[in-house]
């Protein structure tokens, strides 16, 4: 009996103790959830807040962060590059925000959005209302007859006093710190500057509110339920025609609409007129509001039942289209207002344009004056078609440039300004970028660069000395033949940057830099014939013309945390002996190529295999400097010279530009403002980072209306060549698209460095950085793979055999 009791007690004790241990473990783990003790072993302390981030968090009093995280995020997200893993991303996001909250010492409060009542909506709906970007995975739900993809949200809004900033989509944990610190720094600047801009901001808001009220009233009144099983007979009578019903609804609501929309004209003429000219974003807002008012007046007329003028649509259709137009214009006004509200404290970066460089702006003027195009069309219908096609290409170029500017810069929080070859650099431009011009800079542009540098504003010059075309398209000589895709060439550009920079002690070489070992790949698309069918294939080739640099000046903010950088079609840049000898200058070889690199006069063969052979056969002479930063007291290149006069605007079709003719008074003023010396910051990168300019002049090379007065086969040939030019730009970008993301990050660092946000530069580089491996021959790869696969197991088995032999011998000796 006693034995049984002892057994039972023992079992019970064990169970109780085990249960207690599990309980303690749960408690300890639950308490540890709040802990922040961790060791970041990564090279750049990628997962630990840097001092700059801690300072940014502490600098603001009472910041509220509203966090939007969908209850159940998908495990992966489909992207063009494959599936992006999202597992644990919500935890990483919460952790990072909590780290900021701790660093702020109670000055930053986190509020988590939760599913609320129908009036508040789901987290996703709340996020959308707060201007967060929702995203979808492959999870879909069938609702009624429609298939809806599940929407998710992961982001936050940061509020400080009267200003706020949005982190719209937090899908890259590597950049959380960069984005959050950027937002905190921005909030501070934005609030301080908004105090100085109170009046224009209030005027902008008044105009926006007026337009918003009008649009809401119109859209509400015009909302007509469309009956799906519409009876044809009734429709013919007009009883159920949604357009007719819309007209009737608008007529019924005339008084309300008048009340809501009448103030718009007054606001445009009052607050709008006061705002105009004070701020470029304000101008955009007022212009769009004026357009909105015009559309409203037309809608009012159409809805009143007035007979349409000749050539106009029937009133019911007009009403439908104008209602849609009003909504579109409201969105434009909303966007413009948002940009205006975001503008305080935002520094502008000027991009020099007009020399066939990377210029991320759409051109203001049309390629051909519509009246001229119409006249040409009357005289020759074939000409009309060619001009139309050229216009379409030109529009596509403009659209692409506009999108590039929007996505690469505006959406990333930069304010960029186009500086034409005939324009002076405005005072509010904080830095000037000369991005890989392929045509020589004129005297006036050189003068602008010179004076901007001497004024102490950072000047960044990226060079493109060669135009490399690898398996590009070429228009056939004979019109009957198809377009060929084997055009491979390397041609020098007409850039005169070497000459421009020499004056400042910077020697830009035109010899391409090649590498035999540390290189990135080029992605070549080709056609393969299989069983009589043609298939498109893509293949990556290690490419000696895209050296990978790992040798950086770690003391420079730009490269402090950089792991590697791929520089397509780069040349080299070195400081002159005089510059090095001058102690007043701070010269930094920011990026250098590897010792296995090679500087060789161009052109070189561009086909990967031929190029590789050449590189392997030539002894290396690296390293070479690929990016150089110089800071110090520069002297003007125009001392003792006549200051160049501003040229008359080339673009006389643009009325705004035509009005900006240079005047003598302006020239006198420029002469007085001339600086002969000044402390400046110059950064020269001997590559375009793979971002090649797309310009109308380059794509439509040889477009001259006078040549097309009469139809000839040459016009068709020219048209085919323009098409090829545009497609070749796309091909070239596609060939190095896999390394563009990294290079864009570097470019963003350059812009932050230029706009004096050096703290952000080092933080951004902490993001997940690609670390390319050296180029290895397939045989070498096989050897390494085999060695690693067989070596260790073989070693382990050998050790086992040795141990077995030793034991055997010992046993034998013991037995003996």
């Amino acid at each position: 009996m006693a034995e049984t009791t002892k057994k039972t007690n023992g079992r019970t004790d064990a169970l109780v103790l085990l249960g207690a241990a599990v309980g303690v473990a749960i408690l300890v783990n639950a308490l540890a959830v709040q802990s922040a003790i961790r060791l970041d072993l990564t090279d750049q302390q990628v997962h630990t807040l840097s001092d700059a981030s801690v300072a940014a968090a502490k600098a603001l009093e009472d910041v509220t962060v509203t966090v939007y995280i969908s209850k159940k995020l998908p495990e992966t997200l489909p992207t063009p590059q494959g599936k992006m893993p999202l597992k644990g991303i919500d935890r990483a996001f919460r952790d990072k925000l909590a780290e900021y909250a701790r660093a702020a010492g109670g000055k930053l409060k986190l509020v988590f959005a939760e599913d609320g009542s129908p009036s508040v909506g789901t987290i996703e709906e709340q996020g959308e209302a707060a201007k967060l970007e929702t995203f979808s995975s492959t999870d879909a739900q069938v609702t009624g007859n429609t298939l809806k993809f599940q929407k998710y949200v992961l982001g936050a809004t940061f509020h400080y006093k009267t200003v706020s900033e949005v982190m719209p989509k937090a899908l890259n944990p590597g950049f959380y710190e960069f984005e959050m610190t950027q937002i905190l720094l921005r909030l501070k600047e934005k609030y301080e500057q908004s105090q100085l801009m109170k009046e224009p901001l209030a005027q902008g808001k008044a105009v926006f509110d007026g337009v918003k009220a009008c649009n809401e009233a119109v859209q509400k009144a015009a909302k007509v339920e469309e009956k799906k099983d519409d009876d044809a007979g009734l429709s013919l009578k007009g009883g159920n025609d949604p357009n007719q019903k819309r007209v009737a609804a608008l007529q019924a609501a005339t008084a309300d609409l008048d009340k809501a929309c009448a103030p718009v004209a007054g606001l445009v003429a009052g607050d709008g007129a006061k705002l105009k000219g004070k701020n470029p974003f304000g101008d955009h807002l007022v212009d769009n509001a004026a357009e909105f008012d015009k559309a409203w007046q037309e809608l009012k007329r159409a809805a009143s039942g007035q007979a349409p003028a000749e050539g106009q649509l029937p009133p019911a259709l007009m009403v439908q289209q104008l209602t849609l137009l009003l909504d579109q214009l409201f969105r434009e006004v909303d966007r413009a207002h948002q940009t205006l509200a975001d503008s305080p404290g935002r520094k502008s970066i000027g991009f020099l344009c007009g020399h066939d460089e990377f210029c991320p702006f759409a051109e203001n003027s049309p390629l051909v004056d519509p009246q001229v195009a119409a006249m040409l069309g009357q005289s020759n219908p074939m000409m009309k078609q060619i001009v139309q096609a050229a216009t379409q290409i030109s529009q596509a170029v403009d659209e692409t440039n506009g999108k590039i500017g929007d996505n690469l810069f505006t959406k990333r929080g930069y304010s960029i300004r186009r500086i034409g070859p005939d324009e002076a650099v405005p005072d509010d431009v904080a830095a000037l970028i000369v991005y890989a011009p392929r045509k020589p800079l004129g005297e006036y542009a050189r003068y602008q660069l010179d004076q901007t540098l001497l004024a102490g504003k950072p000047v960044v010059v990226l060079a493109q000395s060669w135009q490399v075309a690898l398996l590009n398209m070429q228009a056939p000589e004979d019109l009957g033949n198809e377009m060929r895709m084997d055009w491979s060439t390397m041609l020098p550009t007409a850039s005169n940057l070497d000459e421009v920079l020499k004056v400042y002690g910077v020697e830009l070489s035109k010899d391409p830099i090649l590498d035999s070992k540390h290189v990135e790949t080029v992605r070549v698309t080709g056609l393969v014939n299989k069983g009589g069918l043609q298939f498109q294939t893509q293949q990556d080739f290690p490419y000696a013309l895209i050296p990978v640099a790992n040798d950086f000046d770690r003391g420079h903010a730009l490269t402090r945390s950089l792991a590697s950088l791929s520089l397509p079609y780069t040349t080299s840049v070195e400081p002159s002996k005089e510059l090095l000898a001058n102690k007043a200058f701070d010269v930094s070889r920011v990026v250098r190529s590897s010792a296995s690199s090679l500087r060789k006069p161009g052109p070189v063969p561009v086909l990967p295999q031929t190029l590789k052979k050449l590189v392997l056969d030539t002894p290396p002479n690296g390293p070479h400097t690929l990016a150089l930063a110089v800071q110090g007291p520069f002297k003007s290149a125009f001392t003792g010279k006549e200051i160049p006069k501003r040229p008359a605007p080339e673009d006389s079709k643009d009325p705004q530009k035509a009005a900006q003719k240079p005047t003598d008074a302006e020239y006198e003023l420029a002469k007085r403002a001339f600086k002969a010396e000044g402390k400046g910051k110059l950064l020269v990168i001997a590559s375009n980072l793979g971002i090649e300019g797309l310009s109308r002049a380059d794509v439509l090379a040889g477009f001259d209306l006078s040549k097309f007065q009469q139809f000839s086969p040459d016009s068709i040939k020219a048209f085919t060549q323009w098409q090829a030019n545009f497609q070749n730009w796309q091909i070239r970008i596609g060939q190095i698209s896999h390394l563009l993301n990294e290079n864009l990050q570097f470019l963003s660092n350059v812009l932050d460095w230029a706009s004096a946000h050096e703290a952000l530069v080092a933080i951004r580089s902490k993001g997940d950085t690609r670390r390319p491996m050296d180029d290895l021959e397939p045989e070498k790869q096989k050897e390494l793979r085999l060695g690693a696969l067989i070596g260790s197991p073989l070693l382990l088995i050998l050790l086992g055999l040795v141990r077995w032999r030793v034991r055997l011998r010992r046993n034998r000796s013991l037995q003996a």
Partner: protein, 243 residues
């Protein structure tokens, strides 16, 4: 602690005296190497990715450890029970806890050797690029902790039976459960599992190590699982008094 060290040394020597350590070790290295170079199903060629990273090792090694380590632990107690040497062992002046800890430490010795043999892979990556060394160190600390937890679970399974095969299968199922199944099970029973529960999965806890971060929460979690498994093994061993 001295008896624990003596037992651990004896256990480690016994492990390396038996061919199973070499077979399991070689299998672990070959499987990890193949997965590292070719990915699952041969789809991810390491050299084609052209990135100097050891990430694939940390992605796949836990899977292989979840299968290999129960093969090492299966004999630890089950074999002693079957041969009757356990009775001899318990007559020595050592407690049950010391026996379990000694056996676990001995098995950890095997784990350390096996992991050390994989260092050839980071060595190769270092020779052909500039990987983040900190992330590699973090990943190895994670592998050591997750491996220790797997060993403790395997040891626990070994105390439950006299049959090594049964111990291996149960041990492997436990390891796989903690490595992969917790997430899936939670999602099966709960429409929206709370994030705190999702942390039960070894995979969630291992992610930070693979990124190069040693977080106290993750360390505590693996140590908790190991401690509970050690306690359960001790009570299981002690249960001979109650039967």
């Amino acid at each position: 602690m001295k008896p624990v060290w003596i037992l651990a040394r004896r256990e480690m020597a016994a492990t390396f005296d038996s061919p199973i350590a070499y077979i399991a070790g070689a299998l672990f290295l070959v499987a990890t190497g193949l997965l590292f170079f070719f990915g699952l199903g041969g789809t991810d060629d390491f050299f084609a990715g052209r990135e100097a990273t050891v990430r694939p090792l940390f992605e796949y090694a836990p899977w292989v450890l979840a299968v290999i380590l129960p093969a090492v632990t299966m004999r630890l107690v089950a074999e002693e029970k079957r041969q009757g040497t356990l009775e001899l062992l318990v007559t020595l002046p050592v407690t049950d806890t010391q026996i379990v800890l000694g056996k676990l430490l001995g098995a950890i010795g095997f784990l350390v050797v096996a992991l050390a043999m994989t260092l050839v892979l980071p060595g190769l990556v270092l020779a052909i690029g500039h990987p983040d060394v900190g992330a590699i160190v973090g990943g190895y600390v994670g592998l050591l902790l997750i491996g220790t937890a797997f060993l403790a679970l395997g040891l626990m399974a070994s105390t439950w039976t006299q049959n090594q095969i049964v111990a291996f299968i149960v041990g492997m199922m436990l390891c796989m459960f903690f490595w992969t199944a917790t997430d899936a099970l939670l999602r099966l029973f709960l429409d929206q599992p709370p994030p705190e529960l999702a942390l039960l999965s070894f995979q969630s806890q291992f992610t930070d190590f693979a990124r190069g971060v040693i977080d106290l929460r993750n360390v505590l979690y693996f140590l908790s699982v190991t401690t509970i498994a050690v306690l359960a093994s001790t009570y299981s061993l002690r249960s001979r008094h109650w039967q």
